[in-house]
């Protein structure tokens, strides 16, 4: 009897190394006003930020846990350390970063990528940025790329205060409130009007500490007629206790500007990834989300685009691979708030070895969004009957003058497609390998080459035998 086609698990070996924790400071586990006070003190917050944290904690305590998604019963905030400061200060050259931390990022390929293909890099280790640098040419263009804490006290302090958690208010959901209370680290990017930064910036988030949370805040402001590609990577070694990631990304895209936000997420399988990402797009602007979700034990991840100006647009391209022990609830939200806005959603998900993959989306066309168009396509591949794959797309259309389309498909590897490729001379194993790798190619082709290669390495296929 022929062997069943086998798709290997995500190869996580390059992410699963870890070093002994030598933290300079680790806050006690749990969440109460004293802990939030202590974080605020450690961060030397301005008064308004201190008050904001305390208010967010109050909101957190009043909001219910979500009951519509994957179970997060295994996450006990009483056993999460919300702030872990590594034993180093932020540097802007790798030689000044402590050896073990530098080695971590070397093994993840960050300094190499910076030399080859990036205009700037930020590297966060646990709760603090340990490295931040922007290339001279980008700085000369007026691009600001710094850690958010420094920016809070610098010339952009007012700008940050005007934008911080305005797109994702703490009232949005329980983990947005948690983020507001205990956030630490993250990046601030400012791209002035008319600047096209052709080479991407990247932030990499590494959570090394056991039983800890990472709550970085990314704030990007792209002024009018500008362009930025921002890449975000994240990983962690695996522990036998829960870790938590509840970051927040707020993106402001100016008139006729484009912001591409790419993420390759490969958290370890003990991670609860409850991240919130949102973009506000002005007239003629465009947000492009490229999202690869491979890691985490549980994920709730739905980047949201608010199309606020006439002619604004969004594109969401995503791939999710849920393997053993993973419950990945991913998708996106789009709100059309202005006339002539367009949105395109194109996703793929693969479930195997008991993994659960859910595509969840919402497209809302508000009454003022005349002549708006939206198209959603989601496809899911089931590789065995131990797994689960769901699609839950919602559309809410409040004006006649809109065109909204949606299509979805769940299935296994198509026998017809295999037959067709075989009739063109490909051996069956190659035909199946080609189909599965091609299935996720919607994301790969949107990434810079180096990252597409990394993604393909993540989805390593091993095809044996003939059964689909």
């Amino acid at each position: 009897m022929a062997e069943k086609t086998y798709v290997e698990d995500i190869d996580r070996s390059m992410y699963d190394f870890r070093y002994e924790e030598k933290d300079a400071y680790r806050i006690e586990e749990g969440l109460d006003p004293a802990i939030v006070e202590q974080i605020s003190k450690e961060k030397n917050d301005p008064r308004w930020m201190h008050d904001f944290r305390m208010k967010s904690l109050e909101i957190y305590n009043h909001i219910q846990m979500p009951d519509w998604g994957p179970s997060i019963e295994g996450l006990d905030m009483a056993h999460i350390a919300t702030y872990v400061r590594p034993n180093t200060k932020m540097a802007n050259d790798w030689d000044s970063v402590p050896e073990e931390i530098k080695d971590t990022f070397e093994r993840l390929g960050i300094p190499q990528a910076e030399r080859k293909s990036l205009a700037g890099v930020g590297a966060q280790y646990d709760s603090e940025l340990v490295y931040h640098n922007v290339q001279d040419f980008a700085e000369k263009l007026g691009v600001v790329y710094s850690d958010i804490e420094s920016a809070l006290r610098g010339p952009y302090a007012d700008m940050i205060r005007d934008h911080f958690m305005k797109l994702v208010p703490p009232t949005d959901h329980k983990f947005a409130a948690l983020h507001g209370a205990v956030w630490s680290g993250g990046s601030f990017v400012y791209v002035p009007e008319g600047v096209h930064l052709e080479i991407p910036l990247q932030s990499y988030f590494r959570l090394n500490a056991k039983g800890a949370g990472q709550f970085e805040h990314t704030l990007i402001i792209v002024e009018d007629n500008a362009y930025l590609h921002f890449i975000e990577g994240c990983s962690a070694p695996k522990y036998n206790v829960a870790n938590l990631h509840a970051g927040c990304v707020e993106l402001f895209v100016g008139k006729n500007s484009t912001l591409r936000y790419s993420t390759i997420e490969n958290w370890s399988k003990n991670m609860y990834n409850l991240n919130t990402k949102r973009a506000l797009v002005k007239e003629g602007g465009k947000i492009e989300w490229v999202s690869g979700s491979f890691g985490s034990h549980v994920s709730y991840l739905y980047p949201m685009s608010v199309l606020a100006g006439r002619g604004a647009s969004s594109e969401f391209t995503g791939v999710t691979f849920a393997g053993k022990g993973q419950n990945l609830d991913t998708g996106c939200k789009v709100v059309h708030n202005a006339p002539d806005t367009t949105s395109v959603v194109n996703t793929r998900s693969i479930s195997k070895s008991g993994g659960i993959s859910t595509f969840r989306s919402a497209v809302v066309i508000n009454p003022q969004a005349k002549n708006s168009k939206s198209s959603t396509s989601c496809q899911s591949l089931m590789l065995d009957s131990e797994s689960r794959s769901d699609t839950i797309p919602a559309m809410d259309v409040k004006t006649q003058q809109a065109d909204v389309g949606h299509e979805a498909k769940i299935g296994r590897i198509s026998d017809d497609a295999v037959f067709y490729l075989m009739s063109r001379g490909l051996p069956e194993d190659d035909a199946r390998a080609l189909i599965v790798s091609g299935f996720a190619d919607n994301v790969g082709k949107e990434l810079p080459l180096e990252y597409a290669v990394e993604m393909n390495n993540l989805i390593r296929l091993e095809m044996k035998g003939t059964n689909g």
């Binding site: 519509w68 009454p367 899911s380 009957s385 006649q400 809109a402 909204v404």
Partner: protein
């Protein structure tokens, strides 16, 4: 009682307000006297709710509680084994204004039989009132049950139309739901495709107008091998109408070889309407195929341009296309007399809209 109705089997964000419908202050009520015509090869009887097989329905537990507490006499229609009923079973629910009624119907297509049942819900055009009907069905091995529902209720009527049933090996359930007029309508359907190669075909045609609302929950529950479902909804919204369509295909583990398809096509006629669509596929089996698609919005520009170039004004084009959308579902009714009756009803309405 306060009722939660048509709850989505797999809920999503609460802020969308699409997970379920709700009704407040609903009390049990007596049943309406149903006028029926029963053909040869179908037997009629009366049962109590307790005698019915336990079967989940699309509208959910609160509806079953309402019906049970109303203690209706269940009208049961059972087709003879291995026989095809020559004519449809006709059930006329003729509601008066100001009335409240709760009814229950039980349909059983016995092994190898074929039965068509037409449920016609009607009232005067401007009638007000509340009515709830729960229809439970069983389709035995190799049998076919065709259920046609025609709703022509007054604009002041709140109508709860709840269905739940089970289909055995190689059985088939075909349903046509025509929501032509009414105030606030709730339609909930759960079909359990439990038998090998059992199948469901559902066609829904609706037009909602004025301040009317339509809340649909359609659930195809695939547990048997090689089961198929095709759910096709077409509708028109005008004036201040609001509609939510929740369609779920659940391809459960063990349903290998099954195929589920669903699609919805919504024409929005006025700028003050609201359409919510939630087409869900749940899948825990590898060897299956699930598809869904939805198109929502106005008439496509090329069709509009073509018909305008043939001398029709925009309003007439929209009226005609709206009518055609619902008529395409009406044409699926096998019985000529019933089909023509509904076509005439639609024609009168089209005439009025075009000529005032």
């Amino acid at each position: 009682m306060n009722m939660t109705l048509n709850r989505l089997p797999s809920i999503t964000w609460y802020w969308l307000k699409m997970n379920n419908g709700s009704l407040e202050g609903v009390d049990p009520a007596e049943g309406l006297a149903i006028k029926d015509q029963v053909p040869a090869n179908v037997s009629k009887s009366t049962l109590s709710m307790a005698e019915l097989p336990d079967q989940p329905t699309g509208m959910g537990k609160d509806m079953t509680t309402l019906v049970t507490e109303s203690k209706p006499q269940v009208q049961a229609y059972i087709s003879d084994r291995d026989k095809e009923a020559s004519d449809p079973v006709l059930l006329n629910f003729d509601y008066e204004t100001g009335k409240r009624a709760v009814n229950a119907v039980y349909l059983k297509a016995q092994r190898g039989s074929t039965m068509t049942v037409v449920e016609d819900f009607s009232s005067a055009k401007d009638a007000e009132g509340f009515s709830a009907v729960q229809t439970r069905y069983e389709v035995e091995k190799g049998a076919t049950l065709k259920l046609v529902q025609i709703q022509r209720l007054g604009s002041g009527y709140t109508f709860l139309n709840d269905i739940g049933g089970r289909v055995d090996d190689q059985g088939r359930i075909e349903m046509i739901h025509l929501v032509l007029d009414g105030g606030h309508t709730y339609l909930g359907v759960q079909s359990d495709l439990a038998g090998y190669a059992s199948s469901l075909k559902a066609d829904i045609g609706y037009r909602v107008k004025g301040d009317g609302t339509l809340d649909i929950n359609y659930f195809a529950n695939h547990t048997g091998k090689k089961t198929t479902c095709d759910i096709d909804a077409k509708g028109v919204l005008r004036d201040n109408a609001k509609k939510v369509f929740r369609g779920t295909i659940d391809l459960k583990k063990g349903s290998s070889g099954s195929v589920g398809n669903e699609k919805e096509d919504v024409l929005m006629m006025d700028d003050t309407v609201r359409n919510q669509t939630l087409p869900v596929i749940l899948c825990t089996e590898e060897d299956v195929v699930g598809n869904h698609g939805a198109t929502i919005g106005r008439l496509d520009e090329s069709t509009l341009f073509y018909l305008e170039s043939r001398g029709m004004d925009k309003e007439s084009v929209y009226e005609m296309m709206a009518d055609a959308r619902v008529a395409s579902v009406v044409h699926l009714i096998d019985n000529q007399a019933i089909r023509e009756n509904v076509e005439n009803y639609l024609a009168q309405n089209l005439d009025k809209n075009l000529n005032g």
